[in-house]
Amino acid sequence: MQKNIILAGVGGQGILSIAAVIDWAALNGGLEIRQAEVHGMSQRGGAVQSHLRIADHELYADLIALGTADLILSVEPLEALRYLPYLAPGGRVVTSLEPFVNMPGYPSMDEILAELGKTDRPVLVHSAELAREAGSARASNMVMLGAAARFTGIEPERLEEAIEALFRAKGEEIVDINIRAFRMGQQLSNS
């Protein structure tokens, strides 16, 4: 088993929490992990991405090679497109449809949807709406993880365990909201 996952978003959108959940689940599942992330200047409202690789055998590179990502999981629709060169033939794009506009020239949603539509059965998620339904707009990254769960190569139960472990310190309510958000994303993706 080997999965190459690109996590994409804008600095401050919480893609590192998504990475942390997958990492935790993979580590506890005895898998090998490499997860490269962006620190420093670009974190200030710039485009950020994380290359996450998990496998049941030794991994060498921290970066994913072009055309080999099984999944692009993006919490912002334009950012999903930025990393298309990494997508493997047959790889899947799971993206939030909430645009984050902080620069001039942001394209129209129709243009973005047209480009997303060229990929293999993209999973498009109104994550903010679902997160609010789950109990907090801040849980929208867990909605996205839920929607992408079946492409991660990790059992959803293990991902839920990881969410519980990582949010435990913030109290039971926060754990429940995030689990609910995860399941709502999962449901949407499976339907």
């Binding site: 990492d23 992990i33 997860q35 962006v38 420093g40 970066l63 072009l66």
Partner: protein, 534 residues
């Protein structure tokens, strides 16, 4: 299972803690900051009394680490590649004095300049100082290399460099820990013949350093960081640091069969290198950074046997990837989609609500009143003031250069001559330049954007902010009437404009402190207070 998920930087930190570290000294700088932050957060480090607060700059950090080593204990000093320029004087000379307790310099290079102004290769510094350099290829190797580095440092009595690059420093992987070692006891011996670098001692010590070189090469031959990988065919690869990872990925992905020599400890293991070069018709040199050893292998007159960054097999600049290395080994480019044309860049920007925004608004208004409106700036979040919508600063060269460049321009006759730098950068390298301006009565206005933190690297403690800055400026001889403070807020805009206008017009040294807490630190404090129920 005792695996922990650690960033490369954190693996360095945990390795140092477990290898009997007594103190870490550092100035923040991407991608090295997380080493020290990890030690500061570590419960074990606290229990072991490991000293870990931030230093004022890389030079003070390095010298303090050398002092701790002098007293017999194991010390770690961390910085980014350009930080080593600041610490270079201490570093190079510590190779002449040698060390007592193990002294390890962890330096993080930034090829592709993700968060830096150049991509200088610290291995060159290692060669320059003639000390051992370790360049591990994985997080586990980094962890293990820390034990090795301290041991090596104590056995050859030299500082040892552990070099890593952005990708390894900022990538996580599972790391297995070893049994921890006790700290060294305090043991300072009088050794002026080594540590007083007057010429007669320096000459002898330098001869000693030269004499050590064959032994260092010998030690590289048996290092676990240098390993041949079996293979066949006329093409061989010598792969340095994480270059090795891309070679192995390319071999797997494209079914390439070739010999590989993995290098992770310098000086080079000559016998292993000779063996590879004798066995292969062509050798591809894969270095994450400058073509330091490729140039050496080629020699002045070149060699058609060698491929790498210098003949275009690999790009001359920038970090490596599996794809670049695969192409250099002759693999066909992968099928991959292009980035759609509608995807525009998303450059970083100052946070919404950041005080720097209000400071730049005021500066821009006053500057537009002047025919010349050059603003000399520096390294920090406020460097983002160079981008639209502000376009407010016109230089950013190295830590502290804002004040000294403004001074030089003022000496040349430029008016107004304005410098903008942050509180942490002022403490790092601004103070000495301000003294120069005072001594020369150069008409400069130094605007210190005091947000009470080292914000760009994630909010580390600043060595001087608030009243300390005022005291420093006064102590350096700036006229008290021309040390002004304002709060960069929208409601104060008119008042702030007036202050700037007055000080720009003053024919002498003035300091204007734009004082407002970083909104990120404020938010962090609020979150912490909420979490503890206060």
């Amino acid at each position: 299972m005792n695996r922990q998920l650690l960033l490369g930087a954190e693996a360095v930190a945990q390795g140092a803690i477990d290898a009997g570290l007594s103190g870490v000294y550092a100035y923040p700088g991407t991608p090295s900051t997380e080493i020290t932050e990890y030690i500061q957060r570590s419960k074990e480090a606290r229990e072991h009394g490991i000293r870990s607060s931030w230093s004022t700059n890389e030079k003070t950090a390095y010298e303090a680490a050398l002092g701790m080593s002098y007293a017999g204990k194991r010390s770690l000093v961390c910085m980014k590649h350009v930080g080593l320029n600041v610490a270079a004087d201490a570093f190079i000379n510590s190779a002449i004095t040698g060390v007592n307790g193990g002294l390890v310099l962890a330096v993080a290079d930034d090829p592709s300049m993700h968060s830096s102004q150049n991509e200088q290769d610290s291995r060159v510094y290692g060669k320059f100082a003639m000390v051992p350099v370790l360049e591990p290829a994985s997080q586990q190797e980094l962890y293990d290399a820390m034990f090795h580095a301290f041991e090596l440092s104590e056995s050859v009595r030299l500082p040892v460099v552990v070099r890593m690059t952005t990708r390894l420093s900022h990538s996580r992987a599972g790391v297995e820990r070893q049994a921890t070692l006790e700290q060294n006891p305090l043991y300072a011996e009088y050794a002026p013949e080594r540590f007083v670098l007057m010429p007669h001692n320096a000459r002898r010590q330098y001869q000693h350093l030269l004499g050590l070189q064959p032994m260092l090469e010998e030690l590289s031959e048996s290092s676990f960081l240098n390993q041949p990988v079996e293979g066949h065919g006329p093409v061989g690869v010598i792969a340095f640091g994480i270059g090795f990872n891309y070679v192995m990925e390319a071999k797997l992905a494209h079914g390439i069969d070739c010999r590989v020599l993995k290098i992770g400890q310098y000086p080079l293991p000559r016998a292993q290198v000779n063996e590879l070069f004798e066995a292969c018709e062509t050798v591809v040199v894969v270095e994450e950074g400058y073509p330091v050893y490729e140039e050496l292998f080629r020699g002045y007159f070149g060699s058609s046997k060698i491929r790498g960054r210098m003949d275009g097999a690999l790009p001359r600049a920038g970090e490596l990837t599996t794809d670049l290395v695969a192409a250099a080994l002759g693999a066909a480019a992968p099928a991959s989609t292009a980035v759609p044309g509608i995807v525009v860049n998303r450059p970083p920007e100052l946070c919404k609500g950041c005080g720097h925004r209000d400071m730049f608004d005021a500066i821009n208004i006053v500057m537009q009143e002047n025919e010349e409106h050059h603003v000399f700036s520096d390294i920090g979040c406020y460097t983002l003031g160079a981008l639209p919508p502000y376009n407010a600063i016109h230089t950013c060269v190295d830590m502290g250069a804002s004040i000294t460049m403004a001074k030089g321009a003022a000496d040349a006759g430029l008016r107004p001559a304005v410098a903008v730098l942050g509180d942490s950068t002022f403490a790092h390298s601004g103070m000495t330049g301000l003294l120069d301006a005072v001594n020369d009565r150069s008409p400069v206005t130094v605007i210190i954007a005091d947000n009470d933190t080292t914000a760009m690297t994630g909010g580390q403690h600043s060595s001087a902010s608030g009243s300390k800055i005022i005291d420093i400026c006064r102590g350096l001889g700036v006229d008290e009437k021309h040390i002004r403070t304002f709060v960069p807020l929208k409601k104060n805009l008119q008042e702030n404009i007036t202050i700037l206008r007055e000080e720009f017009a003053y024919e002498g040294v003035s300091v204007v402190i734009a004082c407002r807490e970083c909104i990120e630190s404020a938010a962090k404090k609020k979150r912490r207070a909420a979490a503890t129920g206060q």
